[in-house]
């Protein structure tokens, strides 16, 4: 605790640059949770005090600012990062200084650090349900597009394996620079129109994701016939793309804004009160929100910012998140998460089609997810988000 009697925590999300849409929403999620905790009287009578920096979506800046948070601002707990490359910058810093780092983003797995709590999905928690859904609802010929960095490669590797097990086929695979503008997609969209896949699996992130969906629409692509399926395209991007160009497209994620539950309604109401609208609420935003709450509960228990004490309190901790119950897996510091598949409707809102029955255990070191794993059995979600009857494999 600092002299003026508050608990300082660091926030490292870009509010400018290519990944600012999503990182802004993560920042908002964290700030909302901080507000809620402070409104309830803080932790042991002292409020949480966020120290926030904007790395501007520039990868090396994340590491530098993490160092600054720890050294100059005397912060021991940091929430932040979207892209894996930025996490890899922060990782050695928090390990060297033994700080605690919360990463509220889905990523490609194959990492464990005692100094990191991973709040987003690993491939085993969302790729398998998505692959099953695409093949049963649309067909087995899938075209891959992705941004040119580690997450898309690894995510596509997993997807390719799951598809093959189900008799699917990858009919094209292309990667693009993060800065790619709309005309940069002309070639691949022409290719897609020629090849006529049953669906497109996209791991294009950031601003270029918006450009890609728009270009696809402009070239006559229709999500209701051949959808773009993604793990990363959230409410924020759909809002920027616009309802007309995004209708029919599919995303798999632990959380969608349209979930019908008491916890989610409470969350959305509070978000709207603070930020004016819920237009940019995404699964990564919800993850940041939930991680701050998990941290606060742990801090209430330990009463000190010591990394080792906090970790002990966090491992195995659960939280009634907007997505449903989540839990930090003591085996690997990742999080048990829900898994849902949703389609964008005419109003540009995600409608949840399927969800798995219970939170899926994270398996960050899984090389080959098995398509028929029982834990991936999904159930239909009716229009209101309640329970439906049908059971799908």
């Amino acid at each position: 605790m600092t002299r003026n009697g508050s608990w300082k925590i660091g926030l490292l999300f870009s509010t400018s640059g290519v990944t600012s849409i999503i990182e802004q929403s993560q920042l908002n999620g964290a700030l909302l949770a901080i507000d809620e905790i402070n409104a309830m009287g803080g932790i042991k009578g002292s409020p949480l005090e966020p120290v926030s920096y904007d790395p501007g979506s520039i990868v090396p800046r994340y590491g530098e600012l993490a160092e600054r948070l720890i050294i100059e601002d005397k912060v021991n707990v940091i929430f932040g990062c979207y892209m894996s490359s930025s996490r890899k910058e922060v990782l050695p810093v928090v390990e060297r200084r033994n700080a605690l780092f919360f990463y509220p983003t889905l990523y490609e797995g194959f990492e464990y650090s005692p100094n990191v709590i991973y709040g987003g999905a690993c491939p085993n928690q969302n790729s398998v349900p998505l692959a099953n859904y695409l093949m049963s609802a649309f067909g087995k010929r899938i075209f891959f597009v992705g941004s040119d960095y580690i997450y898309p490669y690894e995510s596509n590797r997993v997807m390719r394996n799951v598809l093959r097990q189900g008799g699917g086929e990858v009919v094209g695979e292309r990667y693009f620079d993060l800065e790619t503008c709309s005309d940069g997609f002309d070639d691949v969209i022409k290719d897609i129109m020629d090849v006529r896949p049953d669906a497109i699996f996209s791991t294009i992130v950031g601003q270029s994701c918006i450009e890609f969906y728009r270009s696809y629409h402009a070239a006559g692509g229709d999500g209701r016939i051949c959808p773009i399926a993604s793990l990363t395209t959230n409410e924020g991007e759909i809002n920027a793309i616009g309802a007309r160009a995004s209708v029919g497209h599919i995303t798999a994620a632990p959380y969608f804004r349209s979930i019908s539950s008491v916890a989610n309604r409470r969350f959305l109401k509070a978000y709207e009160q603070k930020f004016g609208s819920t237009i940019d609420v995404t699964s990564c935003c919800e993850a940041a929100y939930s991680q701050v709450h998990l941290f606060a509960t742990a801090l209430e228990e330990t009463g000190e910012m010591d990394t080792d004490c906090l970790r002990e309190a966090l491992l195995g901790a659960s939280f009634d998140a907007p997505q449903g119950q989540i839990k930090i897996d003591p085996d690997n510091n990742h999080t048990y998460l829900q898994s849902r598949i949703a389609t964008v409707n005419e109003d540009g809102e995600f409608v949840i089609d399927l969800k798995v029955r219970r939170a899926i255990k994270p398996d960050p070191y899984l090389v080959f997810p098995a398509i028929h794993d029982w834990s991936f059995h999904t159930q239909k979600v009716s229009a209101g988000g309640g329970r439906g009857g049908g059971r799908h494999a």
Binding site: F110, E111, Y112, S113, P114, R157, N161, D331, N332, D363, P364, Y365, L366, V367, F368
Partner: protein, 199 residues
């Protein structure tokens, strides 16, 4: 995708290490990676057959004892040495026991997977090379034998190399055996005959 990466979860790993924090870190990481694992300490008498990989703390261990333990088994095993010091005597132990990779204490979770993979690769290549080597050596011996036999025939019968070889091959076919066997018989016969001449 390389088979070694795909099959990593099939590996059964034995950790031989005092039960301390390093051991816990290691066991947890092996568990995260998804391999079957077990822990033993001190160094057991025998290495159970089910283990494919051994992670062994070589601190204060005698190379001879470790080597005896690791080599007693028929089935080859992948060896990863865990070391606390990098002085020449420790380095000597890891060379002596034929470790395929090394992990340094204190153990960090990151890097264990790569070490396991590189050790597996090194061990499986070594095994393949020594098998190939044995095969080549045998083949070379055989060629040498057939050559020797050919020269004996050429000398005794005053025939050309090609004819000598044809004789050996025909004999092998009639007797349903290999050219090497026939060559060996010719060499044996020659040595008996020449010894008779000497006495």
């Amino acid at each position: 995708m390389h088979d070694l990466i795909r099959d990593l979860r099939d590996q059964n790993v034995l950790l031989i290490h005092p039960r301390d924090r390093s051991a816990d870190e290691l066991l947890q990481q092996v568990n995260r990676i998804g391999c079957g694992f077990d822990h033993m300490w001190p160094v057991p008498r025998d290495l159970p057959d089910k283990f494919d990989m051994v992670l062994v703390d070589v601190t204060d261990q005698s190379a001879t004892k470790l080597k005896g333990f690791l080599e007693k088994r028929e089935k080859p095993v992948t060896i990863i040495a865990i070391i606390g010091y990098e002085n020449p005597s420790v380095l000597n132990v890891i060379l002596e026991i034929g470790a395929h990779a090394v992990l340094m204490k204190p153990v960090r979770a990151a890097g264990v997977l790569s070490s396991m993979l590189m050790a597996r690769r090194y061990q499986s290549e070594q095994e393949r090379f020594s098998k190939d080597m044995a095969k080549l050596r045998e083949k070379l011996d055989n060629v040498q034998k057939v050559n020797d036999a050919k020269f004996i025939l050429m000398r005794h019968r005053g025939i050309a190399e090609r004819e000598a070889y044809d004789i050996i091959r025909k004999q092998a076919m009639t007797k349903r055996t290999t050219t090497t066997e026939i060559a060996q018989s010719i060499i044996n016969a020659e040595s008996i005959l020449s010894n008779l001449g000497d006495s």
